[in-house]
């Protein structure tokens, strides 16, 4: 009897023990899971959440800007700056000098740093925003501000004249840097980083140039040339959608998806303009239109003399690299002796265009693209255009890319052979050849580089506006520029294609 009752008791006890254990397990497991959920939850709080938790006692020091503040990072940056500056100087010297060489304008035979000190003022990071816009990628936007006191002296050697040291002072950089991290399954988990400056808000890079032991006026045009060179480097290599791709990690990574490549072609017909503003004292304006997607790849219509309602009917092909962010910019100029006056600008974001859909539009001309600067509400007339956007298929894209590669190789070969002094000169030659036929303006270029002094200034100016533009076009990247028709349009400007 005792045995059975003992067994029954034992079984019951054993089962109860197990049941108890199971209960404990559940309880502890639930506790842990709920804690995990809580921790996860508080890792990304927003204002409403905090309001709910804290009620009325919400601390005043908390705010939730889109770009999260990183005071701690700035504190570190301040402290680290003297060391960082030292280390960075060496790197900049090694990496920027070749870039300068690549973009060196003609008329300048050497462009090097003779002093490079980044100064004592550390840059500030105003805020950081992290987004995941695409599967497998992290997009980090850094609001970067630097009002530094660097001491940078560029040794500029202008064509057979003299070497003048040019000091770059009061550098100010305000820009949003976008870094895209491509994730991978291998340590360190980031296979490549894409770096670019955001186009919106536009990067602001200000500086003043000063000649050491002399005046810049001694070498006219040099200041403009440097401005243009810096500008070209920034807009053509750094500003979104142009980017720098840095592969990380030892393994070979396919970064071709990250590289910028042509995605489509916009065929634009500039029909006419209506009621343009008169800028001339005598007679009427002589308007022409300059169109571009990338600033370095501009095309122009011919000039219609003395007309405020000009009709052009000219068609251009423009290559787009990023449909989401790029726009077609139309600038209407009045051709004039000396500097051409701008009659107005219009912007057409590519996003508004549908692929393979013909579209007729009337664009209102504005005094400036910067909405903040527009003061007057005066009517500046309008521009009638016709647009078809054609998205590249895979094959077309590949073809475009190959064409681009071929062009780059050709240029490098020419450079290696010593035919060209700099990459810029190639265009100089073609440009002056075509330019001679086209107009007096380009004539300056041909003669200007050999001559010194006054003509150099004009050449420099001219080059800054158009030749540099051609370089970009001929240089590569926009593959469409390699078709014969386009290249003529680029170089000469005004050869309409019958529509």
């Amino acid at each position: 009897m005792g045995l059975i009752s003992g067994m029954v008791m034992g079984i019951l006890f054993g089962i109860a023990l197990m049941a108890g254990w199971k209960r404990m397990m559940h309880r502890r497991s639930d506790k842990r899971v709920s804690k995990a959920a809580d921790v996860k939850q508080v890792s990304a709080l927003n204002r409403d959440d905090l309001k709910k938790i804290c009620g009325d006692n919400l601390p005043e020091w908390i705010s939730f800007p889109v770009f999260e503040q990183v005071k701690w990072l700035n504190k570190h940056l301040n402290k680290l700056w003297p060391f960082l500056a030292d280390a960075a100087e060496a790197v900049i010297r090694d990496s920027v000098e070749p870039t300068l060489e690549e973009y060196r304008p003609p008329g300048i035979s050497s462009l090097k740093f003779s002093t490079l000190s980044l100064g004592t003022v550390a840059p500030k990071i105003e805020g950081i925003r992290v987004q995941s816009l695409k599967e497998g990628q992290i997009t980090m936007d850094i609001d970067f501000r630097w009002g530094g006191d660097p001491d940078i002296v560029l040794a500029v050697e202008a064509a057979r004249i003299a070497s003048i040291p040019i000091q770059l002072k009061d550098l100010q950089v305000f820009t949003v840097i976008r870094a895209i991290f491509q994730l991978s399954d291998e340590i360190p988990c980031i296979s490549a980083v894409v770096v670019a400056l955001m186009a919106e808000p536009k990067p602001r890079i200000d500086y003043t140039l000063k000649a050491v032991g002399g005046s810049l006026t001694a070498l006219p045009g040099v200041s403009d040339m440097i401005d243009d060179t810096v500008n070209s480097i920034i807009t053509d290599t750094l500003q979104w959608p142009h980017r720098i791709v840095v592969p990380l990690g030892g393994t070979d990574v396919d970064t071709s998806d990250l590289e910028l490549k042509p995605v489509g072609k916009a065929t634009v017909t500039i029909v006419k303009a209506n009621e343009l503003k008169n800028m001339e004292l005598l007679g009427k304006s002589d308007p022409y239109v300059s169109v571009h997607i990338r600033p370095l790849f501009k095309v122009k219509t011919k000039v219609v003399d003395n007309n405020l309602n000009p009709i052009w009917n000219e068609t251009f092909d423009l290559i787009a690299e990023c449909k989401e962010t790029q726009s077609i910019i139309f600038e209407v100029f009045d051709e004039d002796i000396g500097e051409d006056k701008r009659l107005g600008v219009a912007k057409l974001p590519l996003v508004e265009l549908e692929s393979r859909r013909y579209k007729q539009m009337e664009l209102k001309l504005l005094p400036s693209l910067d909405m903040l600067k527009i003061k007057d509400k005066k009517d500046r007339g309008s521009l009638s255009i016709e647009v078809t956007y054609h998205e590249f298929s895979k094959e077309e894209q590949l073809k475009a890319l190959e064409e681009e590669k071929r062009m780059i190789e050709e240029r490098h070969k020419l450079k290696d052979e010593g035919v060209l002094d700099s990459t810029m000169d190639a265009v100089d030659e073609t440009a002056s050849g075509v330019g001679a036929a086209v107009g007096a303006g380009a004539g300056h270029v041909g003669g200007g580089f050999a001559a010194v002094g006054n003509s150099l200034q004009k050449a420099g100016k001219f080059m800054g506006r158009t030749i540099a533009a051609h370089t970009g076009g001929g240089n590569k990247k926009s593959s469409g520029s390699t078709t014969p028709i386009n290249s003529i349009q680029e170089n000469g400007g005004a050869k309409p294609r019958p529509t």
């Binding site: 809580d38 959440d49 402290k79």
Partner: protein, 538 residues
């Protein structure tokens, strides 16, 4: 009878409890799912006040304390990256563990041991705030509040004697408050030489350990014991002031400390080529070590001489004899205009035997490009006598600055006395009425020293070191530090201005051995100066 029945009862209980446990195990535990689920997270706004109450202890530091910064962007970054990190870490862990396991198994008579599941779960670690401390030393200190309440699943299956047992770790939670110190800071990437990590509090560790599906950690008492043991173990190793040190750079290399001195004697040049139109050239020699910022040294100018003899001696500090080289440039001096280069040559320091004088006669070249045809032209020769003297180990300066230790006073210090080493680091917000070209003058017991002048800068940085010898500890003396500015122009008005001064009592230095502080300047609006003082005794 009663006794026998009691015995029987006990026996029955014994048998019963074991079968009961087995029955209970199969009834309640065995069929429990062993897979790990992701916790469902409801938006905060929807939750009631009771669950919110539960959340209160988890409120991140940045909400409660203004000295913590929010780093939600980092959390977001980690969250997106986590699936990739998870895969990468698990793969690496497996790759490391597999060979070790296969090596160890035979010793323990285990048939096989393998990971049935290895994942870190869907929940990434989170940062609940970031705090930084600023000190006057060359270091960066940060304290991220790290919380990882994950749902990893690590299941190890062990097979032995035909039986299989699984051990599963679930719901690992680690909350820690590490302090990360980066020091010393160095002027080459990544800009710091060491990483020191230590924990400021005992970490909180919690997890479930399932053996055959039953969580051992839920046995009352055992959990507390295990947790305490782990905490103590970790605390023994890493709780502040114990640290984990990770070296990133070799600090002596990174700091580019002087390792020797190069004595160079420019003897003469021979058969220099004429450069001036009228008369002979006026040559002088410029000497420069590569990779240094020190200004180049120059000999005197020998006028109208194409075979000049200088016999001038120079000494230069060498930081890396392997890569540095001595550049010798011969110039033609001109009264007006650019001095023309007459030729050059380079001597790599690694070609010089240490502590041995070597006389070299080098041809002068146009440039160092060996293929340049212009170098075939004869430009003359230069004769130099070079001696590289590396520092002996004992006079190699120890990196006292980094370790914070005070080094021994130099030899020749009188007994009882010592050396006062003053490092003028930097100043902030110094401003003159008419000009701000600050330099520092320090006066100690009548001895006066000056730093270099920094032009047009309100926040100058000097980093200059001065040493004062003392007969006895300067217990009653003061150090006078004065920031001055002189006009760069040879101005008649306001040639000199005082931007502020401070008197530092040296008794503190003697008792503390080392002081590194920012002092507020007197006679200055908001100026501060950072001075490091060391008292070195033999």
């Amino acid at each position: 009878m009663g006794f026998v029945s009691m015995i029987m009862g006990f026996c029955g209980f014994g048998v019963g409890i074991s079968s009961g446990l087995v029955a209970g195990y199969f009834l309640f535990i065995y069929f429990q799912p062993s897979d790990v689920k992701n916790p469902t997270i409801r938006p905060l706004v929807e939750q009631d006040s009771k669950t919110l109450q539960q959340l209160l202890p988890e409120i991140p530091f940045w909400v409660k304390n203004p000295d913590y910064d929010r780093v939600d962007w980092l959390n977001k970054f980690l969250e997106v990256m986590w699936p990739y990190l998870d895969k990468a870490i698990c793969k690496t862990a497996k790759n490391i563990a597999t060979p070790i396991i296969s090596e160890q198994i035979p010793k323990y008579k285990i048939e096989s041991l393998e990971f049935e599941a290895l994942t870190l779960g869907a929940l990434p670690p989170t940062f609940q705030g970031m705090k930084v401390y600023l000190t006057e030393e060359k270091e960066l200190i940060m304290e991220p509040a790290l919380k990882w309440a994950g749902n990893p699943n690590v299941t190890v299956a062990v097979k032995a004697y035909g039986l299989k047992a699984t051990v599963q770790v679930v719901d690992l939670q680690v909350f820690a408050l590490p302090r990360i110190t980066l020091k010393p800071l160095v002027p080459s990437f990544p800009c710091f030489a060491n990483i020191f990590v230590s924990l400021m509090e005992k970490p909180h560790v919690d997890f479930g350990l399932k053996l055959g599906g039953a969580d051992l950690m839920s046995i009352p008492g055992l959990y507390g014991f295990v947790q305490e043991t782990i905490k103590d173990q970790v605390a023994n190793m890493y709780l502040w002031p114990k640290t984990l040190e990770v070296q990133v750079l070799d600090p002596t290399k990174a700091m580019k400390k002087p390792v020797g001195i190069l004595h160079a004697k420019v003897v003469r040049a021979l058969k220099l080529k004429k450069k001036d139109l009228l008369g002979a050239s006026d040559p002088y020699v410029k000497l420069k070590l590569t990779e240094t910022k020190a200004p180049s040294k120059k000999t005197t100018v020998k006028h109208k001489n194409l075979n000049p003899e200088w016999n001038e001696e120079f000494s230069m500090v060498v930081k890396d004899p392997e890569t540095q080289a001595l550049e010798l440039l011969v110039y033609d001096w001109e009264q007006v205009g650019k001095h023309e280069k007459m030729g050059m040559n380079v001597v790599p320091l690694k070609d010089l035997p240490p502590d041995e004088s070597k006389t070299l006669t080098l041809p002068l070249l146009k440039n160092m490009d060996p293929n340049d045809v212009q170098n075939d032209k004869v430009r003359g020769q230069i004769e130099v006598e070079l001696t590289y003297k590396p520092f002996k180990d004992e006079d190699l300066p120890k990196d006292f600055e980094e370790t914070g230790e005070v080094q021994k006073a130099p030899e020749g210090t009188p007994p009882g006395g010592g050396a006062l080493v003053v490092t003028v680091h930097e100043a902030q917000d110094v401003e003159g009425k008419h000009h701000t070209n600050p330099y520092v003058r320090i006066i100690c017991k009548g001895e006066e020293r000056k730093t270099k002048q920094v032009k047009k800068n309100r926040d100058p940085r000097w980093d200059e070191v001065f040493t004062f010898m003392m007969e006895e500890p300067p217990l009653k003396d003061k150090l006078h530090v004065e920031v001055l500015s002189t006009s760069t122009r040879i101005g008649l008005l306001h040639p000199k201005e005082t931007l502020g001064y401070v008197d530092i009592s040296l008794a503190d230095v003697v008792s503390n051995k080392r002081i590194n502080e920012k002092f507020h300047l007197i006679d200055s609006k908001n100026g501060r100066i950072q001075i490091e003082l060391q008292w070195q005794t033999s």
